[in-house]
Symmetry: C2
Subunit: 409 residues, 2 copies
């Protein structure tokens, strides 16, 4: 086991992220082709190039009347020569006349402006009076204004949200090249863990990390495989992890990576693979194990559910996202928000406080959950996001800190 | 058709949201029982009450040694009388001795403090020397500290994210009561719309709203049913919408609700149901149709993809979430962030600008997409979120406005 940490013994969070990102970026997953209505949350596997202009022809931004501005005349009244609905091909505009036109409909040849219908008056004889004479190209959306043929509209490595998939549909494609989903098998360790619905003996607790990790993996677009609980002995741990490495793209565990005597994951990895045990300047969460079993990467999270929650969101997710081919929008951007609390005692680790956004008399403020040290997930459920308190930092009430939303809405 | 709007003709966004919320809250969907690993994004259908204390017994917060603080003695050296691993039931502590104990293990009877192992020294004769004498209850997590039996740990109407599902697992449950997913059938209107992979004739464009809406509905946990494109004539529109209302919990359309002559959705709804056409003080998006076909609610969004994107996120989603039983975290909370741009011209509608968060020399700033007026979704893909510019508001560079994250990470 190597010790990767600088002399103070703690690896800064951003350095850990950078190392995880680098380790995950050496290879790319296989590509598969799927329908755009099945691709939400997947990662685009190639640049998407527009094969047409959007709009394909100049069109009208308004319901109104198309005309040629050089046809101006004293009474501003014109014969109505055609009607152009969206989706139809117009005739060339007969000069000296106007054409009824609807939003999205193609601008006819010879026309160079559209007057919105509110500025027109339909006369009793069927002619149209223009109440406000337009300027050149008024209310005309030029061909290719939104997308020009040849434009790269989305880049390889982009996560596909609803807007991105709608954009792909705009250029007439219903199939998209995405990276295969990463198969992540996860295990919980600890003889004290009991499955749901079983009676608890003294000293036992229910296993919540499995459900937490399953849903975190699912939420972020990975394929979660429940490996179960590994018994606290070395032989079982070795056998289970070796099989897992054949079965999945990444192996994860919770627990078993602290310095306690009862932790066998470290010992197992040392025998069947390679392990770095990182002491990271992160609170909650400190230890993170990172290594491999054969060619399969291994991530060992702490055993405390709050620590799992934070280290997954801040560290493990970054590794998995890069490993799955994502190259954009991986790391959320913190926004500065004023605190409604103070931090009087600086710490040696960066802390991710579970906070809510609350409208106060002083504006929107971050309020922290009263029990940050609890092992259970109540504060994570309650929270709108994390307030980032940097190592060695104190915070005065009203001062701003970085806030990262937990996307609970 | 009633006109719901105040005298200035535009309904404020918050008032529209309040009306949609009220209309959606009169009934609740049916309940179903599913596994916690299948419940991500679903809505909890009943209060979740803890049937046990967590932790179930007082346990150790550290790896170390359990002792009784009254057993203090001059040489601070003690016989080691037992070893308590997590998950095992301890013997009562023999007074005058210490017990080896690991994180999460039950505190034995007679012990009232734990000394972390870093503050202990194992002597050659097997005894343990305590280097730093503890105070009462040091490093002990009391029974029920995190959750007390009888506590409501989650409330009816709560959306289930990974942390909430982990919390449910903490109390030993693997099944959860959730509301059935809302079935939403959606249609696009417009003779100019062409399905993917078909050649475009003059005046035609590819249908992107269908894919956009499908994925927005999916992303927010609704069941999306693709109804296809409704032809621009009244008979087809009536027939299609009547059938749809039998088939789904909510009917949605895009397009067909503006004031243009080519819009048949309004006319159809007037015949087969009830429709309010709201002119909302929102940009982009202005018109929103809200009504019913028999007992089935109807939502008609605008036809422009950017308007669909904004009105879905800000208005339609709120209706659908309440209709699906969600009662908490429905409406995202805007955080104040300083603008790197200015808004010199106040408008009559609240505008949702597509913005990115950018680290500048002045700190984190909102930068807006250059082309806010484009119909296509490029700016929505590019954006980290919306900057909310209130109606009748101008903004100076450096001034803060409300920012709502689009959850792109």
């Amino acid at each position: 086991m190597t010790d990767c940490c600088p002399s103070n013994g703690l690896l800064p969070v951003d350095e850990a992220i950078a190392q995880l990102q680098q380790a995950a970026s050496s290879t790319l997953p296989r590509i598969e082709y799927i329908h755009v209505n099945q691709a939400l949350g997947r990662v685009l596997a190639q640049d998407m190039v527009a094969s047409l202009d959007v709009p394909p022809q100049a069109n009208s931004a308004m319901d109104g009347y198309a005309l040629n501005i050089e046809d101006i005349r004293a009474d501003a009244s014109f014969v109505l020569s055609q009607r152009i609905a969206a989706g139809t091909a117009p005739q060339a505009l007969e000069r000296g006349t106007v054409a009824r036109i609807f939003t999205g409909a193609v601008i006819p040849q010879n026309a160079n402006a559209v007057v919105m219908q509110e500025n027109c008056q339909l006369l009793a004889d069927g002619r149209v009076k223009i109440l406000s004479w337009p300027t050149l190209n008024s209310n005309i959306r030029p061909q290719g204004q939104d997308i020009a043929k040849g434009d790269v509209i989305l880049r390889q490595g982009q996560p596909l949200n609803a807007a991105a998939l709608g954009l792909i549909a705009t250029i007439g494609q219903d199939t998209v090249a995405v990276y295969q989903r990463l198969k992540v098998i996860y295990f919980c360790t600890g003889d004290e863990l009991v499955a749901a619905n079983q009676p608890l003996k003294i000293g036992q607790i229910y296993n919540s990390n499995g459900v937490l990790l399953h849903n975190l993996l699912t939420e972020y677009g990975f394929e979660a495989i429940d490996g179960g609980v590994i018994a606290d002995n070395l032989t079982d741990t070795i056998n289970t992890l070796q099989q897992a490495a054949q079965q999945a793209d990444v192996v994860m565990t919770t627990g078993g990576v602290s310095v306690g005597e009862e932790d066998h994951v470290k010992a197992a990895l040392t025998q069947i693979g390679h392990l770095d045990l990182w002491k990271i300047a992160i609170k909650p969460g400190k230890p993170l194990a990172f290594g491999s079993i054969g060619n399969t990467p291994f991530l060992g999270l702490p055993g405390n559910p709050q620590s799992v929650f934070v280290t997954f969101n801040i560290l493990a997710r970054v590794f998995l996202a890069y490993k799955q081919g994502q190259r954009h929008n991986v790391i959320p951007k913190p926004v500065p928000v004023a605190c409604d609390f103070e931090v009087t005692k600086a710490q040696s680790r960066r802390e991710y406080l579970r906070v809510q956004l609350v409208a106060t008399a002083d504006g929107m403020r971050l309020q922290k959950h009263a029990n940050q040290s609890s092992g259970v997930l109540s504060s994570a459920v309650w929270a709108d996001g994390f307030a980032i308190i940097e190592a060695h930092q104190t915070v005065q009430k009203g001062e701003s800190v970085g806030f990262v939303s937990l996307n609970n809405c």
